[in-house]
């Protein structure tokens, strides 16, 4: 049935941009901070897409890359909180 629906959809180009809120981050401490610092530049789905294979060190490297290479406006004291949220909710178990 899913395949049939997909086929029907394939017949019609869309006119409206899809709703990015279909993918929501998991609830947890500092979720609001993560959204506030990350979602200005990219949708939330970037995070679960990159899971669950990064360990804490891996997520720390990603956050640091966002700050150093992409100019993300994250204060030094916020990095650990964001890494905690990502490692807890989207980390390699």
């Amino acid at each position: 049935m899913t395949a049939l629906i997909a086929l029907v959809l394939l017949a019609t180009p869309a006119s409206k941009y899809p709703d990015e809120n279909r993918v929501q981050l998991k609830d947890g401490p500092d979720k609001a901070l993560v959204l506030g610092r990350c979602a200005a530049c990219h949708s939330q789905d970037y995070i679960p897409m990159n899971s669950p294979f990064l360990d804490r060190k891996g997520w720390e490297a990603e956050v640091n890359k966002m700050v150093k290479s992409y100019g993300a406006p994250i204060e030094p004291d916020e990095v650990a909180k964001i890494v905690d949220y990502l490692a807890t909710n989207y980390g390699k178990k």
């Binding site: 959809l9 019609t12 180009p13 990159n50 992409y70 100019g71």
Partner: protein
């Protein structure tokens, strides 16, 4: 001609009697191969990917919404040219203006041109020779999601690529009009898309002068006979046949010939491969370091489009293995197919040659002799003798995955 409604009704009727395995092969998928697959992608990728449509596009595999990264589903690779409205979409930065044909202007400048100038779309179409080249556009990170171990980034499956007929003008003609000085070492390209924050480096890329002056490098305004779709770089984009998509600047607005190598994050920090690991012919010497080098040309590769993973085939009945192969533009010399885990290989028949930068279709028929699981392998070789690898060449950014193509079917 039947109405669309009737067509859908017929399909629905067909769906009610599915189960024999004789239904449309593209729908007869194994449960472990989701439509947003393949199954080797990270679990979080599969959970958050959906078939969704950007305006003007058919539903594609949504990897990320903003910036938009949407992948072409496998079934579209059954044809050698990828339809514009099914062509994959890849952006780094989320501020993407709609540049109209009337608004568009291209600045041609830099410290290494004699006579900077600006041109509009009408002049681009009128004042220069128009050429059309079939060429594969493949994201450097295509198949990143299949890296083992997984690496961070957009977790692409197999569809961050497409093949189109690109029509436009030779970049070398534009550079010649501006008068390229002999001290030029690179040509720098910028598109109209920008980052939401000023603190993010704008996506700006360069090519070595020799590649910019290659007769196949184009500024294209047409794709498969139609204007470029917005999501593929309208009104005009760079086309760099043989090289990965990172150089194919969309919504191109600036071309600058320069006497010093471009040193930004997108050249010095991103899109780099370890030196010596891949059989690369094209070098980008002004950007090389001791340890690594910019990604340049594509590696030889193939994709099996049929039969599909999990499909049921029958003992004694002919099965046609089909697919596409592509490379850096040397051209595909041959594709071999194996049904015994690579112990023996049979040459496939190549379809019509659409040009050395294009996908090349191939097919090979055989009969399965015994029931059970059977793995089919496909391996392309190009005219330089380069071939697909048996084991992944791991690299930190997950580029150049050209492991021998593999599909498992069930023989009943």
């Amino acid at each position: 001609m039947r109405s669309r409604r009737q067509f859908l009704k017929d399909l629905a009727g067909g769906a009610a009697v599915v189960g024999s395995g004789a239904f449309l092969p593209s729908l007869a998928r194994a449960a472990n191969t989701p439509a947003v697959g393949p199954a080797g992608l990270p679990a979080g990728t599969l959970e958050t990917s959906f078939l969704e449509a950007l305006p003007g596009k058919r539903p594609l595999i949504k990897r990320t919404y903003r910036p938009p990264n949407f992948e072409t589903p496998l079934e579209f690779f059954e044809q050698v040219f990828t339809p514009n409205d099914a062509f994959f979409v890849r952006y780094h930065l989320a501020r993407i203006p709609e540049v109209t044909a009337a608004q568009w202007k291209l600045d041609v400048a830099g410290d290494s041109v004699e006579k900077p100038f600006t041109l509009d779309l009408a002049a681009l179409k009128k004042d220069f020779e128009q050429v059309e080249i079939p060429a594969v556009l493949q994201c450097s990170g295509n198949r990143r999601g299949l890296s083992d171990p997984h690496v961070a980034g957009v977790e692409w499956g197999i569809g961050a690529m497409g093949n189109a007929r690109w029509k436009g003008v030779r970049l070398k003609d534009i550079l010649a009009k501006a008068g390229l000085k002999k001290e030029a070492v690179e040509v720098v390209f910028n598109g109209a898309d920008q980052a939401p924050l000023d603190s993010t480096p704008d996506f700006v890329k360069s090519l070595p002068v020799w590649k910019a002056n290659d007769e196949n490098t184009l500024i294209a305004w047409q794709m498969n006979g139609a204007p470029l779709p917005h999501w593929n770089g309208a009104p005009a984009r760079l086309v760099v046949p043989g090289w990965t998509g990172t150089y194919w600047m969309k919504h191109l607005v600036s071309v600058q010939a320069v006497s010093q190598p471009l040193k930004n994050f997108w050249m010095a920090g991103a899109y780099r491969i370890p030196k010596g690991k891949f059989p690369i012919v094209d070098r980008f010497l002004t950007q090389e370091t001791e340890a690594n080098t910019p990604i340049t040309e594509m590696v030889v590769n193939s994709l099996l489009t049929g039969p599909r993973e999990g499909q049921i085939v029958h003992v004694g009945e002919p099965v046609e293995v089909r697919g596409i192969a592509w490379d850096n533009g040397a051209g595909i010399a041959g594709v071999e197919v194996s049904a015994d885990e690579g112990r023996t290989w049979q040459p496939a028949t190549l379809d019509q040659d659409m040009g050395r930068f294009s996908f090349r279709g191939f097919r090979h028929s055989f009969k399965a002799s015994a029931p059970g699981d059977m793995t089919l392998l496909g391996k392309a070789t190009n005219r330089q003798g380069a071939t697909q690898v048996s084991d992944l060449i791991f690299n930190p950014a997950g580029y150049h995955n050209n492991v021998v193509s593999r599909v498992k079917v069930r023989v009943a």
